[in-house]
């Protein structure tokens, strides 16, 4: 499956782009997408505990299954206001 990843703030900087496309095997979950992103980027992987994931705009657990065409947003701790 192919998904679109959106990254924000510090996660965007660590990833090096605001948006990337990932190719994942069928049955992949959010955690698999994270592993693919964090591969070779230990600084990104260190942010895992403070990162939230939103699948197609809805907050989900890292165990959430993904589907082809999904938009996965990775969200660091917020700082609005």
């Amino acid at each position: 499956m192919r998904i679109r990843v959106l990254a924000f703030a510090r996660l965007r900087e660590l990833l090096g782009a605001p948006e990337i496309t990932l190719e994942l095997p069928e049955g992949a979950r959010v955690v698999d997408a994270w592993s693919a992103l964090a591969q070779g980027c230990s600084e990104l992987d260190e942010q895992r505990a403070s990162t939230r994931a939103a699948r197609n705009g809805n907050l989900v657990a890292f165990e959430e299954p993904l589907a082809d065409g999904d938009e996965l947003a990775i969200l660091p701790p917020v700082g609005g206001g």
Partner: protein
């Protein structure tokens, strides 16, 4: 009125959300401070947002305020991009028949925006460095993410 904007916020514009029967309106504006929490002098802030999710969150927060405080009207506008010290980053207006509900709803709305709207800020310091800063209350809303508790997501920011 629920918006993410890139230009200066005019707080008076939020009063268009006040209804004809309302007797009290409270507007909160959040302003870029000249010093960070740790005292470092700041030249400005850079904000970014996950816009569709942020606007949806504003609407949910307003609906929650109505559940808690009754018949209140809410407007929330947050600016993104580069802001200088003294500029308005966020404005929240709440209006109701009486002032008590308006004050309560306004306070609730700004607190929840800071806690969970997907918006981020980077402080820019006078020495040329910059740092992403999280809100102490921030946890992006809590319940949806499979039992991952709020405290885990707090930052030292």
């Amino acid at each position: 009125m629920f918006r993410i904007v890139r230009e200066a916020i005019e707080p008076a514009a939020l009063e268009s959300a006040v209804r004809s029967g309302d007797g009290g309106a409270v507007t909160f504006v959040g302003i870029v401070r000249s010093r960070a929490d740790d005292g470092r002098p700041v030249t400005g802030l850079s904000y970014e947002a996950f816009e569709p999710m942020a606007i949806r969150e504003f609407r949910i927060i307003a609906a929650e305020a109505r559940e808690r405080f009754g018949d209140v009207a809410i407007a929330i506008v947050h600016r993104i991009g580069e802001l200088r010290v003294g500029e308005i980053a966020v404005a929240v207006m709440a209006s109701a028949v009486h002032r008590g509900e308006a004050f309560d709803a306004c306070r609730y709305a700004i607190d929840e925006v800071k806690r969970r709207a997907p918006i981020w800020k980077e402080e820019r310091y006078t020495d040329g460095t910059a740092s992403w800063r999280a809100n102490p209350s921030g946890d992006l809303g809590g319940s949806a993410a499979g039992g991952r508790g709020g405290a885990e997501h707090r930052s030292a920011g």
